[in-house]
């Protein structure tokens, strides 16, 4: 029982010059976005469990470290993280749809733009709220 078999490109011709359905198009860029956001979210998750674990040390220790989440710099990082989660979440749903339904497969490029549209709408709603909390003072 093997995994999936792929054609291995030769050393002389590592990238075929034949145009493909995929290369350089919406799906390829979203694949890169999906990987990059996935890695970013994974490493944040490791840190986030560790900082939350400070609730078992003392209320003071937790409040001190969580205070750094409320600084302008970290507030912007958090906004980026929320953006990464939105992109990864809705593109993940797009991947499921493309695997599952022929309609979605045929319209996979359009669905990439739907993901960017949802991202734009949700961030437009979230950013004023969040940045107001971060920069709005007490």
């Amino acid at each position: 029982m093997g995994g999936i078999r792929f054609e291995v490109p030769t050393k002389e011709n590592p990238v075929s010059s034949t145009p493909t359905l995929y290369r350089g198009h919406e799906g390829m860029w979203m694949w890169i976005v999906h990987r990059a956001t996935g890695v970013a979210i994974f490493f944040f998750l490791l840190v986030h469990v560790l900082d939350t674990a400070l609730v078992r040390v003392s209320p003071e220790a937790y409040n001190e470290i969580i205070g750094s989440y409320k600084t302008p710099l970290y507030g912007l990082v958090e906004a980026g993280l929320v953006g990464a989660i939105i992109l990864h979440a809705f593109n993940g749903l797009r991947i499921i749809a493309v695997d599952r339904w022929t309609w979605a497969l045929r319209h996979q490029k359009f669905l990439v733009w739907v993901v960017w549209g949802i991202f734009a709408v949700l961030m437009a709603g979230f950013l004023p709220r969040h940045l107001g909390n971060v920069f709005g003072g007490e």
């Binding site: 969580i66 991947i95 499921i96 497969l105 979230f126």
Partner: protein, 149 residues
């Protein structure tokens, strides 16, 4: 030369996988759907409702984890997110780690980190005490004094 057009779906990816990989393939999608619900709930409750990020402190966390359902929601989220993330990272390792040795080392590191974070997070959630005895009462949720704990 124009790119080929998509006319018919390819044979299902799932059917070409080994049983273990197929199980992870299904898990990645099932957990993904659940995580969309869990994480957006987490973000809305913690960052949008109330005072957003400004409200988060020990008393806020204690207020949530005093309820058993928040403990179980957060435990489910921790478990699914770590397994989903670890499986995703293992795809990257098999794609980008060139030698067998680097794959073994990176997978061992990934497995260790995942296990440590899941165990630590689970212990933190279920051994959590919202009203520690010797703590400054001003930092605790208001119900700690109300019920005389």
């Amino acid at each position: 030369m124009a790119a080929p057009q998509l006319s018919h779906p390819l044979p299902s990816t799932r059917k070409r996988l080994t049983p273990a990989r197929r199980w992870w393939w299904i898990f990645q999608r099932a957990s993904g759907v659940l995580l969309v619900v869990l994480i957006f709930t987490h973000l809305v409750v913690n960052l949008v409702l109330g005072d957003g990020v400004s409200q988060i402190d020990f008393a806020f966390v204690a207020g949530k984890w005093a309820a058993w359902y928040w403990q179980w929601i957060d435990f489910t989220m921790l478990l699914l997110a770590m397994l989903h993330g670890a499986n995703g990272m293992s795809y990257l390792i098999s794609d980008y780690a060139r030698s067998k040795r680097s794959r073994v080392i990176l997978n061992a590191l990934l497995g260790t980190a995942t296990a440590v974070i899941i165990v630590l997070g689970t212990l933190v959630i279920f051994t959590f005490d919202p009203c520690p005895q010797d703590a400054d009462p001003g930092l605790l949720p208001s119900f700690c004094t109300e019920v005389g704990r």
